[in-house]
Symmetry: C2
Subunit: 153 residues, 2 copies
């Protein structure tokens, strides 16, 4: 599916961070660029490995910090689909996630137009901010990884 046509970048990221009282740093920018560079659903560990390629001195702690900062300022979302590591998604369009229980890969799926968001009966004492929709099942197509539960993407 189409990913965000307007990913935040440069000064814009700076602003987004500032709005939340967070500072703009080269590490945060770099982590964000890593996410934009390959728009799949990597774990913190995977982001760390990609980030090190062009910034070998970055630390795991900073990757976690940066991911948290990016999530807080709304340019990245967390994806929790199973018992494994949290994944990160840089597509901020409204979409759901399909997770293959067989190969573990996560894919974006579009929500159909109209009432995009499921109609929920939320008691008054709850203030809803975000809604995460996760579909589970199997990818039946040409997934060469299906069958082994290791390979994530």
């Amino acid at each position: 599916m189409a990913t965000d046509p307007l990913p935040v970048s440069g000064d814009s990221l700076n602003q987004r961070l500032a709005e939340k009282g967070l500072r703009f740093t080269s590490q945060r920018q770099h982590v964000y660029e890593v996410l934009l560079g390959q728009r799949d659903h990597p774990s913190a560990e995977e982001v760390f490995m990609r980030a090190k390629q062009s910034k070998p001195e970055i630390s795991m702690a900073t990757v976690y910090n940066s991911l948290d900062a990016l999530v807080k300022c709304g340019v990245v979302r967390q994806v929790n689909v199973d018992r494994g590591a949290t994944l990160y998604c840089s597509n901020m369009n409204e979409h759901a996630h399909f997770c293959c229980d067989d190969c573990g890969k996560v894919f974006d799926v579009n929500l159909k137009n109209s009432p995009r968001v499921p109609e929920v009966d939320v008691p008054g004492e709850f203030e809803v901010r975000t809604i995460d929709i996760a579909l589970h099942g199997r990818c039946t197509g040409t997934c060469e990884d299906c069958g082994r539960r290791e390979a994530h993407a």
Copy 2:
């Protein structure tokens, strides 16, 4: 919200397990009863503590095994809302989860009638089996725990 009016029990659990080639054991039954006895959203650790009260010899590994077995045979669902431990829900009615980002508690919320399930555009190569809907926000009501992120329920 109302929890499942027909929780599986006794022979019925036996059958459900058998259908999946799993054996009925006193541990699995006990773990299931623990979940039915307090229908909130405990973590494996929490289930372990509750289970030990009336069956002190049960082990953590068995709790994980039992929870997995119960999930596999469809009488319990897993709930993954954040970076923390996986939670377990014994309410098998169709419902969504509200997770308070402040106090961490998870509550069941009803999906409105009509198209209960969100309309998603799933590419042909995916076979959807289950859909999980998680709402995030804050409980604004009389939550005495709100403000500290420890206490889960």
